[in-house]
Every structure is written in structure tokens, then in C-alpha cells.
Symmetry: C2
């Protein structure tokens, strides 16, 4: 362990105070998606800025413009940018986190008030909205700053901070801020050598992990129309072409039961996993039972553990989400829906891009529709998307995180790729052109967007040690390198 | 014309009074589906009974028990049974109609108050809820009774009446009443020789019609489950079997784009149309343009007029209605739905029955699901159904209606089969074992369940003549027979 012992001892010794501070943060209901709570998001920004300032971090509240929400024009909550350390001999690490949270009401099914921290010592669980997503990780960084400030220790690296208050509402305004700061010669991100984001979760409840990839997404709808309005199936059934019959046929031509995507060219350029990569999956501490336990059913699409894991993490997938415009209620309705839109999306992996995949999807669906030979109208619409991302795990940024994990947890971390997206990752990677590391604090069962969101106290305290230790490992590796 | 000239002259001469009486009936908002209007349905029953009594019809209000509606236990509105004439030398005709109506509010998009009759002399349209469905036809019978009573004319047949106040709410209680009366030796329906129901519509806006068939229905849902709850497509897509993928595959195996049903054995026993039957379709005054105009799109599934007409009237069909449990909203949701139910139904023609078709549907869907080779769970559920019905159009009941139509309208009627159902038809046909004739008064564009429901005054007045003339033709034909 290259981190000073007094740092880790300080974290241990001040655990109760740190938990209380997390309680303070949880008590501010900074829900970005609720217009009536916008003042609380701003209050949370001020609270966080004051904490950073206390430990010598220079900050700026950056206005991000306005948004339309619930029919009102609202100021977006400011981003908090911060810097501490300007030593040209040290590496500079940019830290990202978000101080807004998902909505929560006790009546949703919480056991305790969501905005009053409930720390259950027996189970070691810190319950409350934002405990794990993402106030716990942000406060982990405050704990690291607190330790160094209080102990009079120099930080081993220069730090830059980018904290936002709109992550749970599409990170509105942040992409532009990142792009413009990255473009400035002396912007807040000048000289950043690597990025560390702590806003995802372990793959399970027992093994720390480093996340090096995210799948992208491309979301589509197939719209089919024909009749002027919904028709009665008794009166028209058998005499007309029916939009649902055509839509179901097209949706049935997209993917096989075991997940093979049928769109020609969709797999072009995707590398087969080599022995090295396969080994990463072999080493993962995650079983088919884990996956099926989390999914709530015995539904893994292979009995080969590695196939299932790669299906989830590194291969593209296609899911059918539903149909807009058809009968969707309980019971029976004898309708021929006039205008239906089938929704589906692909999860993308490099080198797939939404642009390229969209061309292939449209060409394929149009050609399959033509074969149906109906007199209906069809249109495929690309609705939204995002590119996939994979980081180089041989980079010192990952190496430092691995060593820090081994030092704090005495475990080799899982190397994971997430099937979903963490939208802020790509703007940092693309605009700054540096390595981005996802270093989660919480566990797979924290329930980030659910009722009874929690953070295990051991994850909070060890996680704080991990973040600090990671900085020392960065300094150590890059000095010897 | 075998009907006395003074009968038809009386109908003409009293048109204004008859229209006013229809206005009285429309003004009673007898909505059977609205608990707060139950008193109005009962009021309508009393109004109708008093009218019948005025012309010498003996009546009984038959209680039909109670129902649960909007959390309350309500008395069902009584059925009105009636009889006039007991001459053993005359035929006895049973008349059915219903005095309840669909809900209506001006705010639904009506041009005028739905429960205030609006008679537009320029266009000849009588607007108002119930004008065509089914108060107009019921009042047509009152007009016939009025004429005979006022003129002192003997009715050419014995009449029995069965009027109900729950047709728009599933005819609750009526099936039992029909069955029990039919079983009684001296019940209200004793001695009935044929039934006449005036509760459907012409195929177009210009040609009267006789309806001799109704398709049956069998409604199903295919339920697929597997995950314990809805899953995130980013996290699980590619690693698990997805219920939607399996459901879409199964729904895609039920019917072709041009309407051919793929369930083995489903066409067993259905007779091919012979030259005689084909001629009936050739003679129908209904074009593909008519159908496409009504459907609001150029979507007929054949360029052969007879094929389209037979698809609508005499062949079975299968429609896909929608999916319960999947994403059905506007926009995007990256969900893997955990529990989905695909709804579809078949329209049946003789000799198909819901029982037999259900066996074939279940066997087929189960075998196709097995082929998918997933680890999901599947269940096919039969939800409701009804048998098809076809009457013998060579029967004197139809012959009389044809002659009456020719006499009143100077046109040969269309002989139609309806694609949908008129549920009360089958209980009469099955329990009484006599010929049932559907003799519509209104036109295809009357908008029975829509806003701005109307009845053309010419249909009301000529329709009243038609009903009376039909009774004379019955007497004429059966005497010579």
C-alpha cells in the first residue's frame, strides 16, 4: 500500500462523522426531474461547494442555461467545477459525480423516509435516496479531501472536479460545458491526464470492480398505418390488410430467440474475443445463478457462463420493447388498430455506431416490408442513440485502480463492461482524449433507482479509502513509468 | 303490395307526430352502462310499456335480478314482454328491440345535445342518441301498432314483443329469460313461428338489406413470462430469453398478410361458396371503394370485389389486437417486459365453434412455442367467444321481408352477413328453433355508437312502412303456402 497509513486510519476513525455528513446530503431532496425541487438541487450545489472550499478546493458555479419543465422555464442547476493542486510534476485527475437524485416518496414502498438517512448498524446499511447514487461516492471524495486537509498531507495528484445536478434528467447542459471547457487552452480541464467516474456498481455484492466499457444504443420505431381510424375486427377482419399483422411480421424478423440479430451487416467489424479477453470473462466473479437471481427467473440464454457474460457485456443485442397504438389494456378489445409503432433498440459495441446501424436497420426493414406485399404504409424512425465506449485497461489509470483495490479490499477486481450506458462517459473520453476509468463504490443490489436505495457502510468507508489510495497509486505508477 | 294502402298513407300522414314521439324517447337518457342513469332506463321501460298498452298490447315487466356496477348492487332494468293477437290461423312473429342506449356527452364532439332530438329538415336527418340504435326501430313498431289501432285494422299476424334495457351492456339477464320462457309450455314465446330483429344497418347508404348471418368470435391471449420483473435492456439484453421476442414470434405464426389463418384444421368443414352463394355476393350493392371509404384507407386485401366481400362476411378471419404488459407509451423505454399477453381473436363461421377452435389454437400455439426452444413460460387462454349464425334465406320469413322491401323501396334488398356479432340473435335461434330475420332500419353511416348518431327521416318513415308491410307479406305467403 502506497497510501500513508495515517490516511486510511483517519478514514476509519472518522467513519461516524462521514456517515453523519452523508445524512446531511441525503436530507436535501435534490430531485432534478421535479420542478418544485429545483431549489433543493441548487441548495445541494451550494452545500457541496462549501464543503469543497473548506478543504481548499477552488470552485466555480457554472450556469448551464434554462430548460422547459412541467410547462415552466427553469434555470438549470449550476455545475460545480473545482481544482486543487497545480504541481506540473504531478498527474492531474478529473473527478466526475452528480449531486441530484431520482424522485422518491415513502408511499412508493420505502421502509423509511427516503430523505432521512436511516443507518442500520446491525446490517451495516445506510438507507436513503442518493446514498449510493451518487451522493455516497461524491462524499467519498470529500472524505479524501478532509483527511488530507486535516492531516496536513499533500495530495499525490492534482485534482479537478466536475459535479453536475442534472444527471438523472439527461445531464442537460453538461455536454456543451465539457466540450467548451475542453476546447479552451486554459479551461478547467486543461492538463487533465485521466478521468475517474464513480457512478456505477459492482457486478455482484462481494467483488470490487473496474469498469472499462459501455454498450451504446440505437432506438427505433417501425410505424405502420393504413386505415383512417381504428376499425372493428368483426366488420373489417378478413377484408383489409391490418397494420398489426404487418408490424408483428417485421418485428419477428429482427432477432432470434437466442439473441442473434438478423439485420445484415450488423456484426461487421466486431472483433472476436481473443484468448486474453476470454480470460477476463473466465476470471469474473459472476455466475449464471447470480444473473438469474438478479433477473428473477431461470432465463439465461445459454448454459455457458462465458457466453452469457459476453452476451450481457461485450456483444450487441436487440430487444423488442412494445407497441404504441395497439390495444394494451387488460381484457379484450376487438380492434384493428389503425396506426401502430413497434419499438425496439440495439445495444452497440465498437465499432458499431448509431449512424451506421441506422442505415442497415432502415434498409433491412424496408426490404422486408416490401416482401410482405401489403397496401399499408411503413416508416422506420431512428429515435435516439449513443456510441459504445471501451477503455484501454492496460493504461496506468486502470493499473492504479487495480492496485488500490488489491490494497484496500485484498481482492483482484472484476473487470466489467456495462450493458447499459452512463452517458457522461463518452463526452469526457471524446473531448479530452484521455483514459476514463469507472470506479464504482456501491454493490449490485443497492437499488439505485428503486425504493430502499442503500449503500453498505463498508462500501462507503472502504470506498473512501479506495478513492484516496487510487490517487497514490496513480502517483506511484506514473513516477516509476 | 299486400299491405292496405290506408296503412302506408297513415304512416306518411303522421310522420311529424312519429318524429315528435322519437324525440320523446331520445329525451330519456337510458344509458345502461352508467349507474347514475339506471333510473332513466327504468323510466324508458315504463314509457315504452305505456305506449304498447295504448295500442292494446298486453305487457309484463319482467325483473331480471341485480348486477354489480361501479361498486354498487343495482337492479337490472326490467325486460318488457308483450303480446297482441291470438288467432291460431295467423302466424306469430316475435319482435326484439332494446330501449337502452350508449353513453353520450356533447363534449365528446356532438354538434348538438345528444339527448335533445335535433331534426334537420334540410338534410332529413334526425340526430340524437338512440335515434337509430335502437329507439328508431322500436318506434317503427309502435308506428305500425298506432296505425292499426287508430284505423281499426286487424293485424295480419299475432305479435309477441321482447324489449330489453341492457343490450349496450352485454344483455345481462336476457339469455336466461329467453331460455326459461322458451322452455315454458305457455310462456310468452309459445307458438312463435319466426323472429324479426331490427338492430343492425344497411351495408351502404342506399340499398335496404336483409341480414342472414353473423360471424362468431373466439378471443385469446398468449401469456409469456420468465423474468421476476421488468428488466433493463442494457443490463440483460443479450444474456436472457426475452418474453417479447417469443411472443412476437408466436403472434407472427397465426395469420398471413392477406388473411390466411395458419392454425391447422381451422378451415375444416367450411363449405366453399357454390354458384348460388357467389351470385349473392355478385348482386350486393357494395364496392371496394365503399369498403375503403368506410375504412378510411386503400387497404382492401384483394382487387377482387367478391373476395373482399366474402372475406368480410362469410370467411373466418384472425386479427392481432395488441399486447398487454409491454411498453405502449409515446417515446422510448429501454425495457425488457417481464410478463406480456398478446391478444388476438378469430371471427368464426359455421361449422366453427369456439370449443373446437380453442382446441386447435392451443395445440398449435403450444407446439410452435416448443419449437422456439426458450426457457420462458407460455400459456394460451381462451377469453370469450360466441358461435356463428347463418339463417335459411329461402324461409318464408326472409321471403316476406324481401317482398316488403321491394314493395316499399322498389329495390331488391342486399342479402348480407355481418362480420361482427349481435349477441341476442343466437339465443333466439337456438332456444326457439325458428327462423330469425335481421331487418335493419338504418344506414351504414348512422354512427350507432359514435358522436352525432342519426337516423334519416326517410329510413324512419319508410322503415315503419317496411315493418308493417313485412307482417302482411308473412300472412300472404304463409296462407298461400
Amino acid at each position: 500500500m502506497v497510501a500513508p497509513q495515517k490516511f486510511t486510519e483517519f478514514i476509519e476513525a472518522n467513519a461516524d462523522r462521514f456517515i453523519d455528513r452523508l445524512g446531511e446530503a441525503i436530507a436535501i431532496p435534490s430531485i432534478s426531474g421535479d420542478a418544485s425541487r429545483r431549489g433543493d438541487v441548487v441548495k445541494m450545489a451550494h452545500w457541496l461547494e462549501a464543503q469543497l472550499n473548506k478543504y481548499g478546493v477552488k470552485t466555480e458555479k457554472v450556469p448551464l442555461g434554462t430548460q422547459q419543465l412541467e410547462g415552466k422555464t427553469l434555470d438549470l442547476p449550476p455545475a460545480i467545477l473545482g481544482r486543487i493542486g497545480d504541481d506540473p510534476k504531478k498527474k492531474t485527475i478529473l473527478i466526475y459525480g452528480h449531486f441530484d437524485v431520482q424522485p422518491a416518496n415513502k408511499s412508493d414502498g420505502w421502509d423509511t423516509e427516503p430523505f432521512t438517512m436511516h443507518y442500520d448498524k446491525a446490517s451495516g446499511k445506510i438507507m436513503g435516496r442518493g446514498s449510493t447514487d451518487d451522493k455516497g461516492p461524491i462524499l467519498g471524495w470529500l472524505n479524501v479531501l478532509d483527511a488530507h486537509s486535516t492531516l496536513g498531507l499533500d495530495l499525490p495528484v492534482n485534482l479537478r472536479f466536475c459535479f453536475e445536478g442534472m444527471e438523472e434528467s439527461g445531464s442537460e447542459g453538461l455536454d456543451d460545458l465539457i466540450a467548451s471547457e475542453a476546447a479552451k487552452k486554459d479551461g478547467w480541464f486543461a492538463g487533465v491526464d485521466a478521468v475517474c467516474i464513480s457512478d456505477n456498481y459492482w457486478l455482484n455484492t462481494r467483488t470490487p470492480c473496474l469498469t472499462y466499457g459501455l454498450r451504446g444504443i440505437a432506438y427505433y420505431q417501425i410505424i405502420i398505418s393504413g386505415p383512417g381510424s381504428d376499425l372493428h375486427s368483426g366488420i373489417y377482419g378478413g377484408a383489409v390488410y391490418e397494420p398489426m399483422t404487418a408490424l408483428i411480421a417485421l418485428m419477428g424478423k429482427l432477432v432470434t430467440q437466442d439473441g442473434h440479430i438478423l439485420i445484415p451487416g450488423v456484426y461487421d467489424g466486431i472483433a472476436t474475443a481473443d484468448a486474453n479477453e476470454l480470460k477476463k470473462y473466465e476470471e469474473l466473479d459472476y455466475s449464471i445463478d447470480d444473473l438469474e437471481g438478479a433477473a428473477g427467473g431461470k432465463i439465461a440464454n445459454s448454459s455457458e457462463r462465458i457466453t452469457v457474460l459476453m452476451g450481457r457485456m461485450r456483444n450487441p443485442s436487440l430487444s423488442l420493447h412494445g407497441i404504441e397504438g395497439a390495444f394494451s389494456g387488460v381484457g379484450c378489445k376487438t380492434v384493428i388498430p389503425a396506426h401502430v409503432a413497434g419499438k425496439f433498440s440495439l445495444r452497440l459495441v465498437p465499432p458499431q455506431t448509431p449512424d451506421d446501424i441506422t442505415k442497415k436497420v432502415i434498409a433491412y426493414v424496408e426490404s422486408e416490408f416490401a416482401k410482405l406485399n401489403t397496401r399499408l404504409n411503413m416508416k422506420v424512425e431512428y429515435m435516439h442513440g449513443g456510441k459504445p465506449w471501451v477503455a484501454d485497461i492496460e493504461h496506468w489509470n486502470f493499473e492504479a485502480a487495480k492496485k488500490a483495490t488489491e490494497a484496500v479490499y485484498l481482492q483482484t477486481p472484476n473487470y466489467t463492461r456495462e450493458g447499459g450506458s452512463i452517458p457522461v462517459t463518452l463526452p469526457f473520453a471524446d473531448n479530452l482524449g484521455v483514459n476514463v476509468l469507472l470506479l464504482p463504490m456501491g454493490r449490485a443490489d443497492d437499488g439505485a433507482h428503486s425504493t430502499n436505495e442503500k449503500l453498505d457502510v463498508s462500501n462507503f468507508i472502504n470506498g473512501s479509502k479506495l478513492l484516496g489510495t487510487y490517487l497514490y497509486e496513480v502517483a506511484e505508477i506514473t513516477q516509476t513509468a
